[in-house]
């Protein structure tokens, strides 16, 4: 604080001050705790989403049916407010606590995963598919040994979109006291806005930083698993997939 001339003023200054207090990191319910919760539920939600969406998307793509279904799922999920699912699911058989939050987040991970898995298989070169069939591959073998490897870049793109989406949405779990970094922002709003401004912005910085970090890391992963000659094509498909989701 001493390095900066003049008093620390304004919400941003307060945010810096708040982030510089070690106790805000290590206290129970501090940043480290919240970060752990955030990452834990995001990882569980993405995993659950992958387990549901990838098999279905790959199979639909393999059979070539259900393109309309894929579009329908992403359109409908766009219209459902995250807040609604977060408040409704705990009142169902899932009960209060982590499972309901994870399922709610997973619901929003499904559309990009599904759409990209479907597209990934559909775009596989028909000649490669025919050649595999000619070599005597069964339908399952074609899917596993030809279409799946060719779909990997698409799966990675879907994974990135879904993960960033989930990490962003997980901040809303704080509305139902589900933990995560959003809790810091909510706690700040709980204080008076003049007093909590610093904490609100600090929480916002943490949430946004985590989302951007996830985006950058997974963009790198996506690049690594995409063969060089496919990269230009992929970028276009990726942006199309990103357009289909909302920052709810």
């Amino acid at each position: 604080m001493g390095a900066r001339a003049g008093p620390v003023s304004g919400p941003v200054g307060q945010a810096v001050l708040w982030l510089n207090d070690p106790l805000n990191w290590t206290n129970p319910g501090g940043i480290l705790d919240r970060l752990g919760e955030h990452l834990g539920m995001s990882a569980a939600a993405v995993l659950l989403g992958c387990l549901v969406a990838w098999p279905v998307g790959l199979w639909l793509g393999h059979t070539g049916r259900g393109g309309g279904l894929v579009v329908l799922v992403s359109n409908v999920s766009l219209a459902i407010p995250t807040l609604a699912l977060l408040t409704i699911l705990p009142l169902t058989f899932l009960g209060f606590g982590r499972p309901a939050v994870v399922v709610a987040l997973a619901v929003f991970a499904v559309p990009p995963l599904l759409a990209n898995a479907y597209t990934g298989v559909r775009q596989a070169d028909p000649e490669a598919r025919d050649a595999a069939r000619g070599m005597g591959f069964s339908g399952g073998q074609v899917l596993r040994r030809v279409e799946l490897p060719l779909a990997v870049p698409y799966l990675a793109a879907g994974f990135r979109t879904a993960t960033v989406q989930v990490v962003a949405t997980a901040a809303l779990a704080s509305f139902v006291n589900g933990g995560g970094l959003g809790q810091i922002i909510r706690a700040g709003f709980g204080l008076d806005i003049a007093a909590g401004g610093g904490q609100i912005i600090a929480g916002g910085l943490l949430v946004a930083g985590l989302a951007v970090l996830a985006e950058l890391l997974l963009a790198l992963v996506e690049r690594l698993v995409t063969p060089r000659h496919l990269r230009r094509v992929r970028r276009r498909a990726g942006s199309r997939a990103a357009d289909a989701i909302a920052g709810g």
Partner: protein, 228 residues
Amino acid sequence: MSFRLSYRAEPDNPWFSWQYVRDNSDTILAALRDHASLTARAVLIAALVALPLAVAAHWFRPLAGPILALTGVLYTIPSLALFAFLAPYLGIGAVTVLSVVVLYALLVIVRNAVAGLRQVPPEVREAAEGMGYGRWGRLLRIELPLALPGILTGLRLATVSTVALVTVGVVVGRGGLGQLIFAGFQNNFYKAEIMTGTLLCVLLALALDLVLAGIGRAVTPWARGRAR
């Protein structure tokens, strides 16, 4: 307040109750109106800002990269974080909600409008040039009409996601129907209130989407025959 307590005393907590809707029609309608007006204002403002941006990105190619990259980065910023950044400056209320929601709608519309403008075939553009159209004439009479389907797609996506996003406004006390959903959750998990808010939200998104689709059909009569 007292009648609500009497509901709660009932052993069952149904997911939907006409009684609730009847008894609270004023509150529900006010929330719906607020939600619809926030959405309409946001999409309108976003469209007014986004279209010039898209045209600028279209005309001045060096601008296209930065504009699209900026929209991409903004898109990864979680909505709650954006609320957190703006609320300390803009305060609690409709202005903050509108600002956040406009930003996201802006991104969707800009991207789709740029994509729409890029899809105009170069032959058409050259033909227009050959017929003596200037830059503005070409834009208004040739390129924008041909980019309409892309622009309308952007508007529809933006509208539907805006309806969902407005609910996050509960964090600053102006979430429209989100206010209903959140109150239901805090109100001893009053399922009928939560469900009413949710259903109205989805229906509002659907209705606005249909209206925009209808407008789209009306203003692009040439696209109808081709679809058959």
